[in-house]
């Protein structure tokens, strides 16, 4: 067993760090303040292959492994949580299910431009009445000749409106079991932005990751070609759950990055900030807090990297992903809160990055399965 990264991954990390520091960090405050989607950054990331890291080269990707992708999201999120989630949602939630369940035609048509960053991807499962209880969804799809007709709405969709390709989960039939209970059968669809009947509702105003474009999607007799069904009809729910397993590793990496970024800022600040005639880093209270945070962050990193390795080598990695996301998200929230505390009054001021990082951290405990959902997944496996 070896916990050291090999030289190849070290070099990839140095690339992501250099890019993040030069291209992403200088814009992080502005992106948060103005809530404007950082299209320029996305264009640069596309140029350097960041939008298709774990995608095979034959589909326009970089041919790297999930660990490399995870390190990219981590390094981006160290300086800007918004940029981290743009890459994560695009890669894990849109490209991954098409690669896993798509036909060869679908992969050629959709994955190649997505992986090259010519197009941006999104994933739509959540509805106003269906969050953790995804079975409560109402959006329906009916086959009409050669087209599926979608009706309903989705909410809180990351990369909404800016994305070109959407994976949409909708009910395609309702069946009764032996006891007469109704069961919704879902299917997954690939929906192009310009599909007739597909529009966008309101843009959400969020606490954190404010440059991320979060929209409501509206389908009113939205017609898409029959061949845009992803995977088998009626098997959309397992597709969505499996996709979220991968997505959780991306969000865990985002949370990890936010925590690391906040700790880096705080270490520097505590060395400079003087109180009672000496740097606050000379106070044992500060030292112990920094030590606790560093230990916790490293534990989170090991869980996140383990989950990434599991995705590379195992067919099922739900539990690894759930543990990584649960621990990394709660670490991000705890660490950023502590960092704001160590910054004191300055930590509460928007000019200082840790204030933004604390707001960005919160969402990692909520989206792509709340911490409670992760506990359900983990305990479910324990008690099976």
């Amino acid at each position: 067993m070896d916990f050291l990264l090999d030289k190849k991954h070290e070099m990839a990390r140095s690339l992501f760090r250099e890019f993040a520091e030069n291209e992403v960090a200088p814009l992080a405050q502005e992106v948060d303040e103005t809530e404007v989607f950082p299209q320029g950054t996305v264009d640069k990331m596309a140029k350097y292959g960041f939008m298709g890291i774990p995608v095979p080269k034959e589909y326009g990707g970089q041919g790297c492994d999930p660990l490399t992708y995870v390190m990219c999201v981590e390094e981006l999120s160290k300086v800007c949580g918004t940029t981290g989630v743009i890459v994560s949602a695009h890669t894990s939630l849109c490209i991954d299910p098409i690669l896993t369940y798509g036909t060869e035609e679908q992969k050629q048509k959709y994955v190649a431009p997505l992986a090259k960053g010519e197009k941006l991807g999104a994933f739509a499962l959540t509805e106003p009445g269906a969050g953790t209880d995804a079975q409560g969804a109402q959006t329906k799809a009916v086959l009409d000749g050669d087209e599926w007709v979608l009706n309903g709405s989705k909410c809180f969709i990351t990369n909404g409106k800016v994305a070109d390709v959407y994976i949409v989960i909708a009910i395609t039939s309702i069946t009764e079991d032996k006891r007469g209970r109704k069961k919704k059968n879902f299917s997954a669809f690939i929906v192009d932005k310009d599909a007739p009947g597909f529009t966008f509702g309101t843009k959400e105003k969020k606490m954190g990751i404010r440059g991320s474009s979060t929209y409501e999607l509206i389908f009113e007799d939205c017609r898409i070609p029959k061949e845009n069904l992803l995977g088998v009809e009626g098997k959309g729910f397992p597709i969505a759950m499996h996709t979220l397993d991968g997505g959780r590793i991306g969000i865990a990496a985002q949370a990890l990055g936010i925590a690391e970024g906040a700790l880096e800022k705080t270490i520097a600040y505590t060395k400079e900030r003087k109180q009672f005639g000496r740097a606050i880093s000379a106070q044992q209270n500060t030292q112990f807090k920094l030590a606790d945070m560093a230990a916790r962050i490293e534990a989170a990193q090991l869980l996140v990297y383990k989950a990434a390795m599991a995705k590379a080598t195992q067919k099922v990695y739900s539990v690894e992903a759930a543990k990584a996301k649960l621990f990394a998200a709660e670490t991000a929230m705890a660490v950023t809160t502590e960092c704001v505390q160590l910054f004191g009054g300055y930590g509460y001021i928007r000019e200082y990055d840790v204030e933004r990082m604390m707001r960005d951290a919160k969402i990692t405990e909520i989206y792509e399965g709340t911490s409670e959902v992760q506990r359900m997944v983990i305990s479910g496996a324990l008690l099976r």
Partner: protein
């Protein structure tokens, strides 16, 4: 078209310079990077490759660890990499280094050789022109723009207050300034490919037409008496004057110091 870019792994001086007790650089204590002028030279070569098509080979002389900058160059888009490393080459000054690199280059087909102007650790700006001298090639130093036109290169050569535009027939050697361009980032896939590629490793025996007396520490006429970090400048004198008075003041000072 074959372009060879000579690069060097240098300590990153951004975080300050660290010395061994004997006054030599403590390279182990500093991060190692690709020398900035060399990186700009590599970018210039890669742009020629993108526009006109070319095979770009990177070559470095150094410790086995210098393989890192070769991998980085491959990940940016270079096609081949050569590491010249041998114990007998250690301790080389610019003369022994340029002799070694010229000896390696004699084994390769090249139309254009690009080196950085100077390395941030030694700051001599001698190795590039010396290589050209050993190989009997024309050299254009201090390039702030490089263009290939037919069988020639057109180079904008920087001076303090002007530039020269020079044209040289290939084969020739150009030394690049970091201001030449903004080097590209590696790509993740490029990093993975770089580690799948073989790096050619050459030792003393692979150097063509060089004499042992010109290699390594023994072949180095330069002896370093003492090395030190930059000494911090004094605070100077600050004056606040309106423009007309400021001109008077400056002229007075220049006269006082016999500058004008």
């Amino acid at each position: 078209m074959n372009i060879v870019v000579c690069i060097k792994q240098v300590p990153d001086t951004k975080g300050g310079v660290k010395f061994n007790p004997d006054g030599t650089l403590d390279r182990a204590a500093m991060l190692a990077i690709m020398n900035p002028d060399d990186k700009a030279g590599l970018e210039a070569a890669l742009r020629i490759k993108d526009e006109k098509g070319a095979k770009v080979t990177v070559l470095t002389m150094g410790l086995p660890k210098a393989e890192e900058v070769l991998r980085e160059a491959l990940a940016m888009g270079a096609d081949e990499a050569i590491l010249v490393t041998d114990r007998v080459l250690g301790g080389a000054d610019t003369w022994a280094t340029s002799t070694t690199i010229a000896g390696a280059l004699r084994n390769i087909d090249y139309d254009l050789i690009i080196t950085g102007r100077q390395a941030i650790d030694g700051d001599t700006a001698q190795v590039g022109p010396q290589i050209a001298e050993h190989l009997g090639l024309p050299v254009i130093s201090y390039a702030e723009a490089i263009k290939v036109e037919g069988d020639s290169v057109v180079v904008k050569r920087q001076y303090e207050d002007r530039f020269h535009e020079l044209k040289a027939k290939m084969p020739c050697l150009v030394t690049a300034l970091s201001e030449l361009n903004e080097p590209r980032y590696m790509t993740p896939g490029g990093v993975f490919d770089a580690f799948d590629k073989e790096i050619t490793v050459w030792g003393r025996a692979d150097l063509k037409d060089v004499d042992d007396s010109n290699l390594g520490l023994k072949g180095s006429p330069t002896k370093i008496a003492k090395a030190s970090d930059k000494v911090a400048k004094g605070a100077g004198e600050k004056v606040t004057l309106d423009p007309a008075e400021a001109v008077e003041y400056l002229i007075g000072k220049f006269k006082e110091k016999h500058i004008i």
